[in-house]
Symmetry: C2
Subunit: 553 residues, 2 copies
């Protein structure tokens, strides 16, 4: 056959030409690469075209809120039917644009603060959901089949060339900028200020097309701060069971913690209860974790060697800057976080994920999606899953290997732990036969129920009743029995037969506090290394500067 | 308890102080941030200390060969017992340093060209292997528990501030530099030249401590070029079976190909056989792939929408630069590759991995490690594994979901395909009862056998006999029978009983060419869209410039 007959006659640089065209259309509205703040809406109307795929930083913590407010002001006659990519749907105007017709479709990872409204808009047919991703999955698709046409990001400062400085909340700004810039997309950055010289460069100028000074510094939320005052004796009991029944038993050195109160209690028990068990230096040395204030006492007492951070945390900047042996910091002295690298570290380098959930079903599937709330799960699906491409063994990971393997071949497994008090505050059981997420998924027309962590990835389930070592179960029936054995007086727990429970204990599939050498009566919040935010400030030598809403003194 | 009693009295910036000390020690050997080329060995002797963890780029394609040669020249009395991190052990001096005592321990991902010598040095006790990783796993650990003290990387050019330009082979240079720089490590870059102004910035100057002009341009290997002349009728038959039995059946749009001849044949069949099946635009639109020359005809005939590249390919620069709608390119016009992002895309965004292997066992486990060769697997374990954190459905991925699920919960699975001709060239069977890798692992004292792709991740196995749909098998016994059914006259294949094979065909667990509408007699290399490198050059309109060793005209 003839080569020439088959070849397409086409242009191969349509995106680049289109970008030139768009950039030319704003030449009278900008000064070089600087957008005068008052022109921002007009510029967005000119550079964004109907149907465009637009990523908005809508990040887990840091918000490009000047840009999101400006996007909500564009004329829907000019700009409509956008396909939005949001790592996090965090702010009201992130959804206003759907109600106004500016946007139509969304792919996202997390929508915690806006979860109820997302569900409502999906129900109304106002918003089409592509899929709810985990962060690393969404970034990955930006490099392949969801390449953005326009990116709207936030940084602390830009210099006049357009280099960006993010400060501690680097998060996913470089990732989004790279995915867009190298596909002839347009990258617009809001900055708190434009300066002559940056403390450091986080995103090179060549990746940034336009810079605009925001009317106020970008919003950033202290999502990872847990007030020790909220920790109860039950949290302490859960933490003790998890420490002995999981961390100590498997000698876990590298891990990620979710943001629940249960894991905050563990962090605050390390310098006290953990120390009394002689575990310092033996467990919990390497963390994929944001700068949690509740980890300060463990850091100060020498438990922690390294932390790989997804983002920063409000109030922790001075503390982090003073602890460069622990945190990744730049030549400016401040944290360099990297959500993509830390998610990858959590997947491939950490031995364990420990999280919390709102519901867990009879087979150990868990979700924070409940009736009327499409929340998304952020990093949890990635962090709370087995990394099957992993090839480096560690003692904890190898501990999960069951049996001899077939044909000389075996492998370990990541520890995936959920801590689930049997009842949620109020009185509804956390252990349920079927997740609400199944009905929510059906109602929203999703082809997959929105599951946070799948039961077959879960290796350990912990309640105040004890630990279920699910990785040891040989069948779905046995897994169900192990879940029921620690489900207390929930309907699931009441299914449990005493003779089954005794068999599971003898087989080491379930352990109760007494099996782990824990006296329930000892579990007391006095055991925590800090009982208040003020105490965390003291532990930090005054370096931790909590935001006002956490100050009570 | 008292806060003060528990707190450690310690310095928190030891790495930063140590870096300052090391940098001060070379002040008389350098001009600002520039190392005069002739001083390189002295500088390495001064900034690298015994026992350091050092990452050397030792990349899949691009080699910091000036720096590796200089490292091999340091005085082992001064610099010894290094812990090396190599994405790829590619060059002789990468191993000389172990023989000379300069280095002692290694963590790596790939060692193809040096596999025999690695096995030998391990056997001698000269080299301690930490683990053999997949690339993404090794980078992940650099951000957590294997943070480098010194990084030795390669770029095309630096400016006088120390910004780096990588050209198309960006690969993992920014990743390695970031992991090192923000942990107060020392980053040294060899460059082909130091210039006043860079075409673009791939690594900001703030991440680079010292720059040295190499005595010759860095080495880069054309690892992804397959000469169509080497493709046989059997490769074409394998490609036809895979196209119809896997790609067409599951309507796979996003994928990654290994570097085998089998997948090269598939690439070259798309514009011919694929076109005749009416599949253009329906399959194979998005690729996580290096710029394979054998994909040029498919690109030119409009099959390919986007490619996310791990690295570049020698000779493909002008072609890639002329196709920015397909490839990620920068303001300089040339490819920006990113090994970490493309590996992540291959894990989370691609529906399918298709690879080749040297051995496959009776349960579908596969490995390219054979007797006397510790080769490592590069990206294959990551790309060839199910991404269990994935939450976005596609038709192909959902096709792998088996059964109704439990409690309303199900999920899809990544398609992981191995193409395995029943016999390797020569006469040894590729299908074996047990992998040689098991014995090699035991002999090398590894706690895990070096498996490339695990059988329980494998969804499809293809031989010239047919396709085994392993994702449909319900038990290990059924999986073994399905593997045997397509294993031809190998010892494994001879185990197969005709009545089992017929049952598997009826159940759709195995399909033979006749079941797929393929006439074996039609499989002919004349069906390939190109039969030579010269023909690929013609397809590219002269933009592809193959290196001399591939030129025969």
């Amino acid at each position: 056959m003839s080569t020439q007959l088959l070849k397409e006659s086409r242009q191969w640089d349509t995106a680049r030409r289109d970008k030139t065209d768009r950039m030319n259309s704003v030449s009278s509205l900008v000064n070089g690469n600087i957008i005068p703040s008052e022109n921002i809406t007009q510029v967005l109307e000119a550079v964004i075209r109907p149907g465009d795929r637009v990523v908005l930083e809508g990040n887990n913590q840091k918000q490009a809120d000047f840009l999101s407010r400006a996007l909500a002001q564009v004329d829907p006659e000019q700009v409509h039917d956008l396909h939005m990519l949001f790592p996090s749907i965090s702010r009201p105007e992130h959804l206003d644009i759907f109600e106004d017709g500016i946007a139509r479709r969304v792919d996202f990872a997390f929508s915690g603060p806006q979860a109820a409204r997302v569900a409502q808009l999906v129900g109304d047919g106002t918003l089409d959901v592509g899929a709810i991703h985990t962060y690393l999955e969404l970034y990955s698709r930006m490099f392949l089949d969801l390449t953005p046409r326009v990116a709207l990001v936030a940084a602390v400062a830009a210099d006049r060339q357009g280099n960006l400085y993010t400060g501690p909340n680097t998060e996913d700004t470089p990732t989004i900028a790279e995915a867009t810039a190298f596909r002839s997309g347009i990258v617009i950055a809001q900055v708190n200020e434009i300066v002559d010289e940056l403390p450091r460069v986080d995103v090179p100028a060549g990746w940034v097309d336009l810079v605009v000074e925001a009317d106020s510094p970008f919003e950033v939320e202290p999502l990872f701060t847990r007030d020790p005052r909220k920790l109860t004796d039950v949290h302490v009991l859960l933490a003790m069971i998890t420490l002995r029944g999981v961390y100590e038993k498997h000698q876990v050195t590298s891990l990620n913690h979710g943001v629940g109160l249960d894991t905050a209690a563990i962090e605050l028990l390390l310098p006290t209860y953990g120390e009394s068990l002689g575990l310092r230096g033996k467990i919990c040395t390497h963390w994929a974790l944001n700068p949690h204030p509740s980890l300060i006492p463990a850091i100060e007492t020498g438990w922690v060697k390294k932390i790989s951070a997804f983002g920063g945390e409000v109030g922790m900047s001075r503390y982090v800057a003073a602890r460069p042996d622990i945190f990744a910091t730049g030549i400016d002295g401040s944290l360099r976080s990297n959500r993509m690298a830390a998610q990858s570290a959590g997947l491939y380098a950490a031995d364990m994920f420990v999280g919390s959930t709102l519901q867990v079903d009879a087979l150990g599937n868990s979700s924070t999606v409940t009736a009327g709330r499409l929340s998304g799960f952020g990093g949890a699906p990635n962090l709370g899953s087995d990394s099957r491409g992993r090839r480096h063994p560690t003692p904890a990971w190898m501990d999960m290997a069951q049996g001899e393997g077939q044909l000389g071949i075996h492998r370990g497994k990541k520890l995936v732990v959920q801590i689930a008090e049997t009842f949620n505050a109020g009185a509804d059981p956390k252990f349920v036969e079927q997740l609400d997420a199944v009905a929510v998924g059906q109602k929203s027309g999703m082809s997959l129920a929105p599951v946070m962590v799948y039961g077959d990835d879960l290796t350990h389930l912990v309640s105040e009743e004890g630990v279920a070592y699910l990785y040891k179960t040989q069948s779905l029936d046995e897994r169900r029995k192990a879940v029921a054995a620690i489900a207390g007086v929930t309907p699931i727990g009441r299914e449990s037969r005493p003779e089954d429970v005794e068999q599971l204990r003898r087989d080491g599939v379930v352990a109760f506090p007494e099996d782990l050498g824990i006296d329930r009566a000892q579990a007391n919040r006095n055991m925590l290394a800090a009982h208040s935010i003020e105490s965390l400030v003291e532990w930090s030598g005054g370096l931790y500067e909590p935001p006002a809403k956490f100050r009570s003194w």
